[in-house]
């Protein structure tokens, strides 16, 4: 191959591939709005707040960004709004161990951010993040679940709490809660957390039946393992 031929191959080949890329871009742009909910003014305002505080400097969203803090794509699906709002405005008030700083986010800004995160959680991301394949097997190991354990799973308590190494870290660990709290406290706290812990970020579970509350409380009382540090 002569130099001139190699040069032409480079120039025209690059143009060729760039044109294909442009065509695909054009096609993609036409399809994006159908793969996501409508962008309201509030969602857009939330995106601006996201940029203002440089959240991407610690977090990823759609998996892109920084790897210092959890991905935000589906957060709004996992955590209730009231909780997120309290966390955003003052992380350490919700979780004394939080390393996210208090950035000075106002109440209105928090609402906007939550609307924005609600939007991202509904975007069709081709199934990302994937469901963990080993999670369902962990911790159960052939045992029949009690009523309380089933409720604990179905109500999403483990999104926030950890028991024996499994679950979220933004709320207190429950591995040893049975030796810390008694039955009355636990039941009352489920119905109205703020009555027991001022300004609690835990959602109330007052709509559960007496039996369900009982089951859940009984399960809590079985959790009496020393937490190894």
């Amino acid at each position: 191959m002569s130099n001139k031929a190699a040069r032409n191959l480079f120039i025209y080949g690059s143009l060729f591939f760039f044109v294909i890329f442009l065509a695909l871009t054009f096609d993609t742009m036409g399809k994006l709005d159908k793969r996501a909910p409508e962008i309201t003014e509030e969602v857009n305002a939330g995106k601006m707040v996201w940029h203002k505080y440089d959240c991407i400097g610690c977090h990823t969203i759609f998996g892109n960004g920084s790897y210092f803090a959890p991905d935000m794509t589906k957060t709004a699906e996992k955590k209730p709004k009231e909780y997120l709002k309290k966390f955003l405005m003052d992380p350490k008030a919700v979780n004394p161990q939080a390393s996210m700083p208090k950035l000075g986010i106002t109440s209105e800004e928090a609402d906007k951010l939550i609307a924005f995160l609600g939007w991202t959680s509904k975007v069709d991301t081709n199934g990302w993040p994937p469901k963990p394949i080993l999670a369902t097997a962990a911790g159960v190991a052939g045992r029949e679940l009690t009523g309380g354990q089933k409720l604990y799973q179905s109500l999403g308590c483990s999104n926030c709490h950890m028991v024996n190494g499994i679950g979220g870290t933004t709320a207190p660990e429950l591995t040893n809660v049975g030796s810390k709290r008694d039955k009355a406290w636990l039941t009352g706290h489920f119905k109205n957390p703020s009555a027991y812990v001022p300004n609690s970020a835990m959602p109330a579970f007052g709509n559960l039946s007496e039996k369900e509350l009982n089951d859940l409380t009984d399960y809590m009382l079985t959790l009496k393992q020393e937490v190894k540090k």
Binding site: M1, S2, N3, A6, R7, L9, F10, S14, F17, F18, I20, F21, L24, T25, D27, T28, M29, K31, L32, R35, A36, I39, K47, W50, H51, K52, Y53, D54, C55, I56, G57, C58, T60, F62, G63, N64, G65, S66, Y67, F68, P70, P101, L103, F116, T120, V123, D124, T125, N126, P129, P130, P132, I133, L134, A138, G165, I166, G168, T169, T170
Partner: protein
């Protein structure tokens, strides 16, 4: 060896700025690494530190490219630069802009409320990774790059020696400038935001910058070993051609999970898997050329150039291909695996490239034939060994994270704080080793050619 044209000396201004920013980049990198263990370690939060780390990196590499390009264009055109005062102005304008941007980041880090909206965009920090620089700075940067391109093009027009090397080099730089523009407008959709953001980030490092690397590698092989221009340039065209044929559609490897249609899984998977190919050709090219010719005076320059080719392939090619298929990327996307790849790729492809260009051109600029190269080798080994260990450490952390968080469903923070703690500690330690290497390099940069050459025989 001395320079043929006085204005080539301008390269040195750019190199000095680049070298100092390199030092800053690595110091803040270590602070970021410590914050993984101890989040409250510094007055500035992690996000600001990380912004400084990656912006310093990108800017010093760009500034290094600019210095190298002024040198190469003058050399290839066999004439003085079109306008030396313009080059000087462009240099100082860049320094002032970058300083202002950095101050803005620090102010924003200390007082987030200062990041107010001015005509629709943030004043101090745009809150978008790598292109955090606010809009006013974007515009100044574009103006600076345009002045730079004008000066280089006018120099070429003076003698009309359109060599392949400078054609490809300037072509790569024009592409680079164009690909900055997709990051300069606001979209309400986070999906579109990231779509265009990747045009900048991916089409830079896997497009424009690799073209620049191909041209500079060709230049170095020619200067260092006296290889034949025809041969070097032909392989250069093949390399940069393959970079574009695979890299442009390879952008699709970032469009798997951000809300874009699923055909990108095919497009991105197939084309990005081919991206290591041109990088392998570059390694082969460097070795073949080196073996054919033996009378090399600037051994350390050649050493860095070949190391650049090898680590470009290892960091970008190998550490890239391991997570580029959608079947794998689904699990590793946005984990420490990405960080491991990002570090080795940037180090191998561009840090070593700019360092190689400095060692190839600086002796001539300083007007020395021989220089004491022992520090240059020392710093190479400190840097490279530390970087390899940082990358292995973080690859380990990424594997643990992928397994525990993504496959087992453990909480992100639990994995980070408990299972990966030792990896963070190791990274910080190797980071200090890397800083030692940078320190040696900085000292060497300032002393090169200014000591008695006799030192050389002692080493």
């Amino acid at each position: 060896m001395t320079i043929k044209h006085e204005s080539q000396k301008i390269a040195q201004n750019f190199y000095t700025f680049a070298v100092l920013l390199f030092l800053v980049q690595v110091v803040v990198g270590i602070i970021a690494a410590v914050q993984f263990i101890w989040p409250g370690f510094f007055i500035l939060n992690f996000n600001t530190i990380r912004t400084l780390h990656i912006n310093a990196l990108v800017v010093w590499l760009l500034v290094g490219f600019m210095g190298a390009t002024y040198y190469v264009v003058s050399e290839e055109s066999e004439t003085e630069l079109w306008s030396l005062p313009l080059a000087k102005f462009q240099f100082w304008a860049t320094v002032v802009t970058i300083t202002a941007v950095v101050l803005g980041y620090i102010i924003m880090g200390l007082y987030p409320q200062a990041n107010i909206l001015v005509s629709g965009t943030q004043l101090l920090n745009e809150g978008r990774e790598y292109i955090e620089a606010p809009r006013w700075a974007d515009i100044l940067i574009v103006v600076s790059v345009l002045l730079f391109l004008l000066n280089c093009s006018m120099t070429v027009f003076k003698t009309k020696k359109w060599t392949g090397i400078q054609g490809v080099l300037l072509g790569g730089l024009v592409f680079l400038a164009l690909m900055y523009l997709p990051g300069m407008f606001y979209t309400k959709s986070m999906v579109k935001d990231q779509f265009w953001w990747w045009w900048v980030v991916h089409l830079w490092v896997e497009g424009a910058w690799e073209i620049i690397a191909g041209a500079l590698l060709a230049f170095m092989l020619m200067k260092l070993i006296g290889a034949k221009r025809e041969v070097v340039e032909k392989w250069m065209y093949i390399e940069v051609g393959l970079v574009m044929f695979t890299g442009i559609l390879g952008t699709g490897h970032h469009y798997y999970w951000i809300g874009t249609p699923s055909y990108w899984l095919w497009v991105g998977g197939i084309f990005s898997s081919l991206e290591p190919l041109p990088l392998l050709v570059m390694v082969w090219d460097a070795f073949r050329t080196t073996r054919e010719h033996r009378q090399v005076t600037n051994k350390v320059g050649l050493f860095y150039a070949v190391a650049h080719a090898i680590f470009n392939f290892v960091g970008a090619g190998l550490w890239g291909i391991i997570h580029t298929l959608p079947q794998v990327n689904k699990w590793t996307h946005g984990t420490q695996i990405t960080t491991a790849h990002g570090h080795l790729a940037f180090y191998g492809a561009y840090v070593l490239l700019v360092m190689a260009m400095i060692y190839v051109t600086l002796p001539a600029i300083r007007g020395v034939k021989e220089f004491n190269s022992s520090r240059a080798y020392q710093s190479f080994w400190w840097l490279t060994i530390s970087m390899v260990f940082i990358v292995l450490t973080i690859t380990g952390a990424g594997m643990v994270q992928t397994y525990m968080e993504r496959l087992m469903g453990l909480d992100y923070v639990a994995v980070k704080a408990n299972y990966n703690l030792w990896f963070w500690i190791l990274r910080a330690i190797f980071g200090v080793g890397f800083l030692v290497g940078v320190g040696i390099f900085v000292v060497d940069y300032f002393k090169l050619g200014k000591e008695p050459a006799r030192l050389k025989s002692a080493a």
